[in-house]
Assembly symmetry: D2
Homo-oligomer: 262 residues x 4
């Protein structure tokens, strides 16, 4: 379960992130009589029960792994397999713009793998709720599994509906969109939001952004802003310090706006 407050000790049923090095980490559930196989030998997971997170554990080939407590970011990276990835750099900005906090009611679409859904759920807990629309059935099922594993299902309602046809909820604090035609949702979002509520939309192409911003202007939104965020890794080593050679050049643009009453 992500975002669980303050457990220090690993229990049966908990997830751990087995860390070998920056590029090789494995998200596994700790169970009795279960071993995890890697190309560096297998790890007896039951040995971890009762240990502190952060403990080191040797594989059968005597290679040392660290049993980290998975963060929300770790879950996000591991969760996304079947759809286009939403990057932590973008999720963190979307969360900031959406102002999601405890008690907030947030509408989201599409659910996708549930990575952004999980992040929003973590922030609106324990008294808020996320209503997540997904029109593609197969994504919905995969997302439900991911939300369950992340331990946030009770804070999320996934709806197998096309959000471009309407939003059921009203008086919501934020609407967060990551879908192909966000501009079609803007009038529904205006209807669903409280006054001053936030709309956030993530889109890969300029054309989507232009249409969405036009729809926002026509539908009574203000404080409209679009940004893109580039993140570059650094190789830090005395005498060899430099930015990393490879970089993700583009994921998408983030547009956010506020509902003004008419």
């Amino acid at each position: 379960m992500v975002c669980e407050s303050s457990l220090s000790e690993i229990h049966e049923g908990n997830d751990v992130l087995l860390y070998l090095d920056r590029k090789r980490t494995y998200l596994v559930k700790v169970e009795q009589e279960k071993s995890f196989h890697t190309h560096k030998g297998f790890v007896q997971l039951e040995e971890l029960v009762g240990k502190q997170y952060g403990t080191r554990i040797a594989s059968s080939m005597n290679i040392e792994f660290v049993a980290l407590k998975p963060t929300l970011r770790d879950h996000i990276f591991k969760m996304q397999r079947k759809t286009q990835i939403t990057y932590p750099k973008d999720i963190s900005l979307i969360l900031m713009f959406s102002d999601a906090g405890p008690g907030n009611r947030v509408v989201e679409a599409g659910t996708g793998t549930g990575a952004l859904t999980t992040s929003l759920a973590c922030h609106v807990r324990p008294t808020g709720h996320v209503y997540s629309y997904e029109v593609r059935t197969k994504f919905m099922e995969s997302a439900l599994k991911n939300l369950k594993r992340a331990g946030v299902s009770e804070y999320v309602t996934v709806k197998n509906k096309d959000i471009t046809e309407g939003i059921d909820e009203t008086e919501v604090d934020a609407v967060v969109l990551d879908l192909a035609t966000p501009w079609l949702v803007i009038p529904h979002a205006y209807a669903a939001l409280k006054g001053s509520g936030v709309l956030v939309s993530f889109s890969p192409t300029i054309d989507q952004v232009v249409k969405t911003v036009e729809a926002l202007k026509e539908n009574g939104f203000v404080a409209i802003e679009t940004v893109e965020c580039l993140m570059r890794g650094m190789q830090i080593e005395r005498g060899k310090t430099r930015p990393q050679t490879l970089m993700t050049g583009h994921t998408g643009y983030i547009t956010h706006a506020r509902k003004a009453l008419k």
Copy 2:
């Protein structure tokens, strides 16, 4: 108060963000018989009492403002006057890396204006706590005022202490550093953190980063990563769409790592 769950109506004593346009917004407290003066005329704030957030209000010169509910990001932007700014793009990534959530106990230094402190407090509420170290007395006083206005004082203990000399707390979930010599804090951070706990450090110069990463490697941290984040605004207008001409080229590098047990 930031991050308050779901108020829709403006009450006396509430903050509102008066929005004129993207570059002109004003954070004001709504009080009886109080008017707010701008170069576009004055606004009678008491008229807002009982209205919904998002309502429009005309100034004495009949210019329309929108009374938005201030987000955490709005508070951050308005809060930072006396010290170097920490940008929302960086704060959002620091929050993501720190994995701060309800119930977490987080150590932070330096407090500065309290912008990052407020953000962390919002995320660990209602059962967690932020212990914020600030050695410069004048910043401390200004930060206390800002935390009070943001409504998060009860979740924060500001300490007038030099964190490079030691951390009082133990078994904390995260240590977040934004100060001149983070490398001096690393051994104390290791002692203060739980196993698997997170360290995040923000520094403007490469030299600070190199020393900090070296200290992390020497003190039992793993999963060490340094990134920089560039955010670029877009001007979105059909036929004139382009990135904005001016851009912040650098704020700082963010380094994060996890404590492995020895």
Copy 3:
């Protein structure tokens, strides 16, 4: 005169770049009985005659300047006053893409201040020629002055004509465009270019680029590519090394393509 081969000694009539520091440089012509006034005192320019470029000269306030030989890049920076600047980073890429070399015949529009014109002229000398179209008379006059000062007028014909109505030249090696409606020039450019000739277009907005690329595809161009180039200055100082805070976030997109025969 820019790009002059190998003079080491300063003669009367030569340009020098008086260098005080990175932000304060002055392009001046060395003449008898002429002094140059700065806020750091005046410099007797005639003292420079017969000295080597690179010599130091003290002002009347005993502040030391260095008398550098102006490079093409120095001329470009000083030349651009009346129109939107074309940045050296962009000019250097445009030159690379255009493949301009000795003997080439290049068509350019618009002339603007003549910064790009001068750069192209330097590269096609001594046997090539630049045909530069400028519809705005006042720019044309200013450009002619700048070309003369840069010593490249004999390699350039500036034409007071609207290039969207046609190109007089044929069998040219490259067409280089920096104007508001490049897409209107593409059919004329195809007619003017040799087989395999290069088209390069610089535009600030996405919309200009989309229209231009569509016109290129429709008119028999291949190897079409659009890039943007970001340049960031570094502050290099042991213990304080970091990227500079301010940065130009956008100048324009550069599109280049080759003419395929039909």
Copy 4:
């Protein structure tokens, strides 16, 4: 041969760039009875003799290629096989900073594959010269072959010498460095340069840059500046326009400076 003025017609012995699409181009020499094999069938190169550059030619599988005249940039891309690549974006800036023009004498090290050497040679022709130092014998041989193919050998002297031990030439216009320890060359570069002459250095790591800038300051250089250049490709297509997903995040920093006389 690169940079050859104005040939329009393909002759036997000429290079052509066979263009299939943006990712598939082939640099081949046109010879009698020679065919070029690709996965799209083979192309009879002798058919190209007497045709115009830019002509289309069908392979044995009836796939159309365009026979482009290779630009300097095409040669650079194809030349670099055995050593770290210097990117056209960096070469174009290095050329701009070095102010290389006809008649200039330029010292360069190391030669590497000869990509930068070729570029410099193209710019100093026909009356200038490039002196290129390369300590690694195997690179030297490969470079000589590349220079010959590019048709610029007569403008270059490649020296199998370690430039950190000294520079033979004096009164040169520019010194251009792309080697592991540029700071060791700075005193020699000062001795070799004319007054006001330019030093340009390309280095991947921050540590190299810091040492080089310190050496420049200690050795009488002024106008010292370090930049990095990021180039991002755009995918231009109406309705789908966006920056490309993948991007080179770092190649190296470019430092340039001018020699002031003492």
